[in-house]
Symmetry: C2
Subunit: 376 residues, 2 copies
């Protein structure tokens, strides 16, 4: 069967499970491992699509829940999908909406059929089923859509995790059945929380359904680093080699290395743009807080090793000035830098994998970039 | 004497006093009449300098008072001036700081020596003399600096206007004496409020000092359109033909035409960027309020006759969506459009002048664009 996207592993590092690959999509071919910028509302905050091309962005992630609430499913359909809506000709991935729906803790009620909740804008009652999620994602028209799942809160009892994982599997089956677009891939999401047997159980059930790719869900939800990495190990060994693997919410540098080392191909995070807007920059010399007074008269670039528009054209003094005056240009320039920093890091990681020196490169970066405990 | 800038009138429209010219500056040659975007804090809000080149911006206006307060005179000097600070290689003009200082009505006290006031950020006491204004403007290093003057409140008694105009003339003399930079032009500002004899008196006194150009000050401060245009007429007839004329605060379309018709060469206004950030767009089909529900599913460009990045790449539906979600990209895209609209209008005005059909073009624009009473 012809798939909407195809994936090929081009090289696996001799020193670990890190691998390089190519994802061929209806909107071009991208290389993995890859960091995907988040464009919640069909806009990566402050960046134009020209800016996205300039930083060599591959996939952009858009949020189904947010686009459903505003501008709405009908507008997305009339627009001809998210690519035309935002004028982005590269590939797009949408989440299922589940994460946002489940995070509205106080108002949501889970049933077998789907989830009742109140939307965050006006509090009106809404309902999302696996079929709704697929229908909305088809209207958005991303290159990759995701199964509707429950991201299990951590920690939860074994019984809760078992029941929830079972329901996620049933929802995955319903979503797969509802999904009709031939030009859109659908990924399954493996849940199971911290329990190895549930991870195995869920992974095997989803793999049997033959999705176009698999996400490792329910991580980075408050668990320790050790538990997080164990969740990955407990899941990935049951995933096929020839399908892309995606972990959501990974943007801290140490997490990126740990994730890629275990064989993950795709990851995304709001972290780089969110911290950029608050004046925190990731650089090859470590973390910079641009609002510090020491930068007021520092006429050097943020990062001498960076090739982004910001570093090629502006100084720390100017960024300090823009930040202190709350100027929108500052948010844009700093977001461009942090995104390019992670996209360039992924490029360097791919090069290291191709040269079978991933672990050496990981050690080099983590020991010289001087990250804090949060990993950036 | 070699002047830092030179000006030549290349054509005067046969049907009125509107004229085309060239201003040669240390940062390139620009054509007049010209609309100048305002970059208060050494940034035209939300636009990069690349964006400014794309819209064919000539001069950018920066505010001396704001740059003095933050980042401060010393930082501007250490940066090597505003061009390097913001990485803009086109020409820059600075105001004198007087307008902002005088607008701090509750705290300012005018003396012969200068003005005492409290700054708007932390309320600390400050003082600005004509010499201070020049020294700060030399540190900022714009291509054109302005004399320190009092923008007379409207209406004021004849006696107040006479005293203030006399002081403005004395301050202009002190500023001229203090000004040393050979690569920076200095303009005098004609005051005199609504009184024809004071306008004549001030214009003749300043022209006798031989400034590099002249601004018509004290307009658009609450007077009627008729009084405004009379102030222009009462001033311009005493200004030399071979020096550029600048009117501050002009950005509404009818004002632009009236101003250019009377022989003004340069004008600036925060209006296009300020209204853009509030979702109001100037188009060849009239004014558009992008937040209206009718645009949610309107997949056409803002203005089919516009060549800006926004109109070439995005739809009203997308701009409506960005505006409703308070996305910074929306502010940028809409600011780009409004600025390009006025810069293109100035380009078309120049073409009309060259073809001796300025009045016909004015009539065409004012009758077809459908502007409201505010003139946009």
């Amino acid at each position: 069967m012809d798939r909407p996207i195809s994936f090929e592993v081009t090289h696996t590092s001799k020193d670990c499970k890190a691998r390089c690959g190519l994802i061929h999509t209806p909107h071009g071919t991208v290389e993995t491992p890859m960091f995907m910028p988040v464009g919640t509302q069909a806009t990566v905050k402050f960046l134009s699509t020209e800016d996205l091309h300039d930083i060599n962005a591959g996939f952009i992630l858009a949020n189904t829940y947010h686009l459903w609430v505003r501008p709405g499913e009908e507008t997305m359909r009339l627009a001809g999908g998210v690519h035309k809506f935002m004028n982005w000709d590269g590939p797009v991935l949408t989440d299922s909406g589940g994460y946002q729906v489940f995070s509205l803790k106080d108002t949501r009620k889970i049933e077998e059929e789907g989830v009742h909740f109140k939307n965050h804008l006006d509090g009106s009652r809404m309902f999302m089923s696996p079929e709704d999620s697929i229908r909305i994602q088809e209207a958005i028209g991303a290159d990759i859509a995701m199964s509707f799942d429950e991201c299990i809160p951590y920690p939860s009892s074994y019984e809760y995790c078992k029941d929830s994982t079972d329901r996620t599997i049933r929802w995955a089956e319903r979503g797969l059945k509802a999904h009709k677009r031939k030009d859109q891939a659908l990924f399954g999401i493996v849940q199971g929380s911290e329990f190895a047997d549930l991870r195995e159980y869920c992974a095997k059930a989803l793999v049997a359904m033959d999705f176009d790719g698999y996400a490792i869900g329910g991580t980075s939800v408050g668990e320790s680093k050790e538990t997080h990495y164990k969740m990955l190990d407990d899941t990935i060994k049951f995933l096929p080699e020839d399908k892309p693997r995606y972990e959501m919410g990974i943007g801290a540098i140490n997490d990126i290395f740990e994730t890629v080392e275990r064989g993950v191909d795709m990851f995304d995070c709001v972290l780089p743009t969110r911290i950029a807007r608050h004046g925190t920059l990731m650089t090859s010399q470590g973390r910079i807080n641009i609002k510090k007074a020491v930068y007021q008269n520092d006429f050097t670039p943020l990062d001498p090793n960076c090739d982004c528009y910001t570093c090629k054209n502006h100084t720390k003094a100017y960024l300090n000035h823009l930040f202190r005056n709350n100027e929108g240009l500052g948010s844009r320039l700093m977001s461009i830098h942090n995104l390019r920093f992670l996209i360039k890091l992924a490029e360097d990681i791919r090069q290291a994998i191709k040269e079978d020196r991933f672990l050496e490169f990981k050690e080099h970066v983590l020991s010289t970039y001087g990250f804090d405990k949060r990993g950036f």
